[in-house]
Symmetry: D2
């Protein structure tokens, strides 16, 4: 089969690979749709270390092609979604409530990391009964594929942010994950969501997903503006959706005492991420800093699909570009170099 791989750090391309075989508890899925993620670019740049001929991609839906002997709930031909994170559910970290950390820190992140990813005609899924979810008839593949990572990660930012009904939230950066954090904040009942973003197209999407105010950090002081919007108190919850030291500092500064800084950005650079000491209340202002990795698993995916089925959130406006799998090289370039105001690139197989 055809696979789009990272040849080595800095180099991508197609190659032929054998169709994977399922172990007793596993499934193999024939890919129908996939999305390109900025973390695919991080990976190619060496963000998780050197890899050789590793199939890229972790956001996909498809049709069950084969299942192992122990799989009970899924059969070939079923249309399924697979979370970007496919935990080992019996692991100690999973028993502790953190399946994304099973098998070690971030260990649930297997696709295009510890095993081949989904940018191929077929891909392998461990523990199929626990990690696949059937896609309801009312939800298209084009929408369902957003659950794998974008909705799951973005909503997690809101869920971990401990947002009170009617509370105030700021979401720093309105890339696709930040946009879904904006939507997620509204989904949890935030009364005011402030989106921080400078790109006009993303500002517009932020408003569509429920940001009542949008702050452009290139023309306004974010801390001043957010304090003004919250009568000097700061927000209940600041969601950091970029993964940058300076944005993280802003998040701490704009959060009220007793509030939560919820981190969903991937921090790819520098030895340290820095907490501004005084605005952190010299370590005593009851500001909590929460983090997490995209929740996976069948239950999570079923719940996210229900959100789509009920038309509570529509991710499709984030699809700015569509390509056939054969045009994957161009598609990757568009996403990687952020060409043409790209938000998300959808691939059809």
């Amino acid at each position: 089969m055809k696979a789009f791989v990272m040849r080595e750090i800095g180099r991508v391309g197609f190659m032929e690979k054998p169709v994977p075989e399922p172990g007793p508890n596993d499934a193999v899925v024939r890919t129908t749709k996939a999305l390109i993620c900025t973390s695919d670019s991080h990976t190619v740049q060496g963000g998780i270390g050197p890899r050789e001929d590793l199939t890229l991609g972790h956001e996909a839906v498809g049709v069950v092609h084969a299942v192992g002997s122990e799989v009970k709930d899924f059969r070939p031909g079923e249309r399924v979604l697979v979370g970007a994170i496919t935990p080992d559910w019996g692991d100690l970290a999973s028993q502790n409530g953190y399946p994304s950390q099973s098998g070690g820190p971030l260990g649930g992140f297997k696709f295009a990391n510890s095993k081949d990813g989904v940018f191929a005609e077929y891909f392998h899924v461990n523990d199929a009964d626990a990690n696949l979810a059937r896609i309801p008839d009312g939800v298209s593949d084009d929408m369902a594929v957003y659950c794998a990572d974008m909705l799951s990660t973005g909503f997690m930012g809101a869920e971990k942010g401990n947002i009170p009904v009617g509370g105030t939230v700021a979401v720093l950066a309105q890339g696709p994950v930040g946009l879904m954090a904006t939507a997620g904040a509204r989904l949890r009942g935030a009364g005011l969501v402030v989106g921080v973003e400078s790109v006009p197209g993303r500002q517009k999407l932020a408003r569509a997903y429920g940001a009542g105010e949008v702050v452009d950090f290139t023309s306004e002081d974010v801390v001043e503006r957010v304090l003004e919007l919250t009568e000097g108190q700061g927000v209940d919850t600041a969601i950091e959706a970029l993964g940058a030291d300076v944005t993280f500092q802003t998040a701490v500064r704009i959060t009220k005492p007793g509030g939560t800084i919820s981190v969903i950005g991937y921090f790819g650079e520098g030895e340290f991420v820095r907490i501004p000491r005084v605005e952190w209340g010299v370590g005593m202002a009851d500001k909590t800093i929460a983090t997490g990795l995209c929740p996976g698993g069948r239950l999570r995916m079923e719940r996210l699909l229900r959100v789509l089925e009920a038309r509570m959130v529509d991710p499709s406006p984030m699809t700015t570009h569509e390509f056939a799998f054969d045009d994957m090289e161009r598609a990757f370039e568009v996403s990687d170099k952020k060409l043409d105001d790209v938000v998300k690139v959808l691939i059809s197989f």
Copy 2:
């Protein structure tokens, strides 16, 4: 001033009373709008014991008329909302996180209970800085008055229900509090809300507030239908919004293991409320039964007003009837006897 009172058990009417005076920490509010609640009827029927010439009513908005010497944040002339529950914030129960229970069980419930209520031209508010909230310009009195009890109690049902994003919820009974629980469940991200109700007008409102399915208990078996809608699993959260033994039992039966039964109904009858033993998992199915009393206080009211300001929920379709304060006797009769498909009766002063 004119006040509409409970003369004794079973008898209501107008009487003259002096305008109240504020103590050092208190305020007196000139009433502009109020709502009649079914608990006003319970009270008149003797539900909280005998009372003599007690002013009724606990849902109101108005204009600050006078403030005590220690009040810092409010001034006469300001348009304000007061929660139905006005806690003593320094009380041990408040320090424990349960201000509605300050001063003893349900002790935060003072209006028309331990002191005169709001169906009068003026009413008294303890601890004004902590229990008043300014109404934003974009929110009318007619809408704001719903925050005092209906939104606060209904949303609490959803909040205490521990609803996961995309989770399944059933709300048993779609009276005004149940309708706001339905809206609240959507506000917390429920993927499916099932409203249980037989009255057509309320069924229609339930759908408008986000119930994806409505079950009529007069023509369907609620337990069977809810299990069918949830693939045999039961709901994540069942909200009991009626206050009846049989409805409570249904709530336990339709909740999945690990789910929550969130009680917001007022249970006015019988020595016991009964848990069905087997469906409760013989006391071992991880089903939690949560209860609470309408949260009050300035912060809560400010947050609910923000929900109205952002047009996330519109309570006004629940106003089926409007009367002037002079017509209070007729207004009370309509609410008390549930005439004319009444949902809520709004009083103008």
Copy 3:
């Protein structure tokens, strides 16, 4: 091999069975020590329905005899503990945080229920990597075996009770699970634990495990006495460790508004368990009723073993009787008929 079984409802005895074989993910353990539980008696009396030749018992430790091909972390010869509950960790209920409910309500409870139990020379354990725990050198089999159910269930009563540091707790009934709830309440920092019990030997054990006060319900009114001990407020947490309607009612009555009733008793009788309506605050006093089933799994067992290793709790005084496996019939009679002031009966293989 020899197994002690329930022949049919009401009848027990020995029989020969083949040594079980492990599936790919499983283990077979050679039993060294086991404990008899009152739920073994419930089962024999028909509490979970008819069974034929079902091996009894769910509390045991032993030595790994054989493991399946996929088991990574355990090898024959290792001394291991197995929780009474052995969840399917990939199940939706487990993904939802309730592994004891995997496979349906109470579905994690497999031993002597949906498969043969541990009163045999060998027994089978599903998902060995996730459900076995190595016993540290400093912990004897005689102590470790208490973790399987008694410590796990009793401590859960305290953990689900949401006990504040320095808070007040009542534990209703001081059988072995109630005693471990008493110890667990102290382990969570309760400032006052009131044990309710009439049997002198159990009263003495209650004091040893940290009950500062013991109330004998045969000579005192429990509600009055507990209110007196808590200055009229009621306890933060009442733990029901008997499984009786009347005790449950007492638990609701003695809990303060905002407190928790934590149920760990098995309710074996009656159609309903009854909540006293008025003391429940007519459904509005913020009293939460929590339940659960003994937590199992490797992580839980490792943590409980650490508690024993650190000598924080010593369960051995609960062992009032010891028998060899050959004397199982007499041993079962002592436990079943509560002869001779029995608390727990330990069996050696």
Copy 4:
């Protein structure tokens, strides 16, 4: 009356001040015992900015001298404890669950900050009914005074650390607050507490308060040693009890994915506190950083006094020095310069 004050930054001494008068809700307490805190030194060094003739001290017990007209529950002559933090309970931050942040960040911290402290013959207490607690007969003043800050802050470190029963904890620095965090970790059921400390006297106290292991950072690599003690996993909870950038970094490094870093140290220096990016899991390892300020208030103090009354923790071994109030200058010097292996200095009035 005589008061020991900060004249200006860097200079302390005695001066005469009038005995304070209570407002309507307040009390004045005649001091009997007080403790010197390292934050008194921070304050004198200018840590909270310039102050003139500010009475120092925030840890004290005494006898009620006078109460205001509105005070209901306390009378002159009663022996009372006052928390170091005396919140405004009606404030929005208190309503939000964070009374220590009432009136602004860290605003509940009034003594020796926004008003005169307790190193005087008499001191003033706002909102007496909510901020005083009667000392039980079985608890001496010498012990009770430790509740004001040391127990409350140290235990908070454990409580916010979300310690599972049988979990693993490291407490970094075993000063008086760190020692109480060690005791608090045991009080919440930690199975292993690792104390990090180099001073022999404090190491000994750490063991007495329940540290099963003590690591001397001057001779061992703390990260390596803690990972070794936890089989490579890291601790469930790391409590930072020093307030230093480097210790904080260690805390992040030794915490397992899904664990909590609970900060109770006062961070007095530098523009930033730095999170080690990689060991923080690039912002994705589900490591939560929690902070807080000493909880105050009557309920908290009553609960802590119950812990002392039940002899669950004995703070008195931390009293290494005792002085009469007349010798306050020498007492302050001992504490300030950490002379003579001082842990805590107790002052008698």
